[in-house]
Symmetry: C2
Subunit: 236 residues, 2 copies
DNA sequence: ACCTGAACACCGTTCAAGT
DNA sequence: ACCTGAACACCGTTCAAGT
């Protein structure tokens, strides 16, 4: 589709200086910087230095930094998002949503770009395929198109929230356990009996991965509202 | 608790120059800047200018910018987070979670600070009271402490995700409807039949507020996993 | 057509020095 | 004890000019 990105920078039919840099070079260099120095180091300036060009040059190949990150995430999605899908539509929804979540969870910098405007619309085929699976699964379970879109969006919010909160709280100290008291020390046990009872065990309880059970509960809860005609719900 | 913040900057027992600025002054000025110029304009430098002091001065009264924003959000929570709570524990969970969501949704800059590390632990009494309500509600419905914490965290992820995604996509064009085609124009109808069928209607369907139904479904889905002893579920 | 250096317009935070 | 100017160490993006 893009005539520039495929071939090396040989001269093309048109006039002008031949390109030193291509979209693919930029994405490759970006992955290298992230892998070597961590994603926090991926700035436009550093990336340009990595390629041996001026920072301004990059703006001839990508619209802006968000654009670069979305393309990068999409490239990784093409490689990672290929789950085996079961037959049961309810199961397909769960597996597809889990695949999306796990791909994002494995990409620490995903949080940076997850909420940019029009994110969904900028995705490539492998990511869209899983959106299709979820929407199709909901329809197969009896929901209308608008209910199916709502179901997808709710799962998306849940996934994004989990990724974002975890991404931010993972950084910092080694484990959540060796933190100073989680709730304020002067927590009024009369007003907050349960929180006081849990007390310092909160970080420990919160270290548990609640996503898989939460996802299943969310899918079942939403399908249950569609009507009794929804598909089989295995005993788990 | 904090001896400085309560009283105006009169001289205190100890030695040294009397303060020109207090934590309360800073929070008040921050609210003024946000209200007048929008929250994007709330920078450390502008806030200092508003107060007529140097930027460095603020660092004697707040730890850093995140600290300032959390205190600001907490102050608003004290004013907004006082819902009437019903008797039924399942209903209490829904009402409390809705109150948290609505307070955050009404604060456009909330997205900026929602995911900072230790956010929950830095909250004041009125916000903690709703956390307590949700955890207590889950326990009243038969869940263990760890299940109750999971339930709260899952609702929190859902809420945060909804707020963050909406916060970012609301900015920009007037409504989502007058956007150019949402999915890529060359979307393969054979591979993505449902997405292709929905097509340009996605933004319109996505404009619908799916949170309330989603929340109810999520709560019911999670309570259903706890066991048959869970509380009444009204017919709505 | 492609690339560049320099500039623009900022950030949050630190710190030695003043009062 | 409190406040300050100046500096530090950066950002992403634009643009006139070069090749």
């Amino acid at each position: 589709m893009d005539p520039v990105s495929a071939s090396p920078p040989t001269s093309r039919g048109r006039s002008g200086r031949p390109p030193l840099t291509s979209r693919d070079d930029i994405l490759r260099a970006a992955r290298q910087v992230i892998e070597r120095d961590g994603w926090e180091q991926l700035t436009v300036r550093r990336l340009a230095a990595e390629l041996g060009v001026g920072a301004a040059t990059l703006y001839h190949h990508v619209r802006d930094k968000d654009d670069l990150l979305i393309q990068l995430l999409d490239q990784q999605a093409d490689e990672a998002l290929r789950p085996d899908l079961p037959d049961d539509p309810r199961e397909r929804i769960v597996v597809a949503a889990t695949a999306i979540h796990d791909a994002l969870a494995a990409t620490p910098w995903a949080a940076e770009v997850l909420t940019v405007d029009g994110f969904l619309g900028r995705l490539g085929p492998s990511a869209l395929a899983l959106v299709e699976v979820i929407v199709a699964g909901a329809v197969a379970c009896g929901s209308s198109e608008s209910q199916a879109v709502d179901l997808f969006r709710n799962l998306w919010y849940f996934t994004v929230g989990e990724i974002l909160v975890r991404a931010r709280s993972r950084s910092g100290r080694a484990t959540a356990a060796d933190r100073d008291t989680f709730f304020p020390a002067d927590l009024d046990a009369a007003r907050f009996p349960h929180l006081a009872a849990i007390g310092d065990r909160w970080p420990e309880l919160a270290a548990h991965d609640s996503f898989p059970e939460g996802l299943a509960a969310f899918v079942d809860g939403q399908l249950a509202r569609i009507g009794p005609s929804h598909a089989s719900r295995p005993s788990r």
